[in-house]
Subunit: 245 residues, 2 copies
């Protein structure tokens, strides 16, 4: 890849691409389900249902015409709905418990290569978040997981949720770069396709364990991306970032 073809800034999807939301939220949900006396509910399936609600809400957010509302609040609403679907009335539970459960999304573990890969990529490129997570969530997550972001951008800063084009274009505008100078790094084909439609460069990171080894939900959106790697360390290799000293 010619150096002239390199992007100026790397913007990262976070849930699934940089951190393993499923293992972390399922582990915490196991504990919370025990605390509310519902250890009979499978915590992994519960986590997946919570996540599917998220994917569905994000896809249609703009259409609903709802004012921009931060993900911490949406995550809580989705938790309530997921609980109701299991026959649990969230009104019967302590608000502090529900808040703490919601904040499981602030305490996710990074994939094993994430911190080392980001640290190397940062030596050559500014690295920013382009996640649907709100700033407070992303900040807490970065401190929890040791993610060395240069800046936390994305949905709350642009007031638009991916895949709304404004989430991608607004991020480029705020950074003062052309869309083609910004590269989205993501494990999801649909996210990369939306970024490419806005003129961004694209880097795919394979995360086969995101859904416990099942195929990604958006395999049909796969294209040949500008870069493709099976870890952030491998992406650092592809982009010519020097190994750690």
């Amino acid at each position: 890849m010619a150096v002239a073809g390199l992007p100026k800034v790397l913007a990262f999807d976070v849930f699934g691409t940089v951190v393993d939301w499923r293992t972390s939220v399922a582990r915490e949900s196991t504990t919370f389900l025990q605390r509310i006396g519902r250890a009979d509910i499978d915590a992994v399936r519960f986590t997946d249902k919570w996540r599917y609600r998220y994917l569905d809400v994000m896809k249609r957010y703009r259409e609903t015409g709802r004012d921009f509302t931060v993900l911490d609040v949406l995550h809580r609403e989705m938790l309530d709905e997921t609980l109701r679907h299991e026959g649990v009335d969230p009104a019967d539970l302590a608000p502090a418990l529900l808040q703490d459960w919601t904040f499981a999304w602030r305490r996710l573990a990074p994939w094993p290569d994430s911190v080392a890969g980001l640290t190397r990529l940062k030596t050559r490129f500014p690295i920013v978040t382009l996640s649907n997570g709100n700033i407070a969530l992303m900040l807490a997550l970065a401190r929890h997981a040791g993610l060395p972001w240069d800046a936390i951008l994305g949905a709350e800063v642009t007031q638009a949720y991916k895949p709304d084009p404004e989430a991608y274009l607004g991020t480029a505008r705020i950074l003062g770069v052309a869309p083609g100078e910004l590269c989205l790094v993501a494990a999801h084909h649909s996210d990369l396709a939306a970024a490419r439609a806005c003129g961004l460069r694209t880097a795919y990171i394979a995360r086969p364990d995101e859904y416990g080894g099942r195929r990604t939900a958006d395999e049909e959106a796969a294209q040949e991306w500008d870069w493709s790697a099976d870890s952030l360390v491998a992406l650092a290799d592809e982009l010519g970032c020097p190994p750690a000293a």
Copy 2:
């Protein structure tokens, strides 16, 4: 100071508090003034005039009713005005040169204690910017000066310039903390006074060299602040952050 009294997040003024804008911009302006054939103009006085325009514009920004415009753009406008005041028509100069000169504000040197102090403070507190500098400017400056921010917040994210209360209150809201859980760290009494009026905690950092040893312009706004130190390392001591390993 009782531990119960500690803030949850530290938000930093940057120009003057964390970085030495005057020495850096004057050094660059010396070169630019030579390049435009005006080495007769004193670069330090030129820099101060540029900065005074900034202080004046910020103080009255809300009153003007102008839409929020990022500081990179305002810095460029103020440069043009400062040049005109010296009898230089910016229309006679190359746009690339004027842009590069404006971006001197992205290449400021930190005070000698800043990186060590921030690094220690970060072990215990999230550290964010609460500057009037826009995100792209703050990001470039952080990479240039090695400032390890957890997040870049402030004017562009809240769409309000200090001392507009929304700059302080919006930052607390985005962080998900009460105003009293957020502490502004700043070298300027007027900034701290505006933050205190919004309910924020306040930490004063003495920077006697900001204006080359002259008294600060806003000495009359001095109060007894919650914390007071003569460097960010000293603030780390006051706030009980462990020394570097």
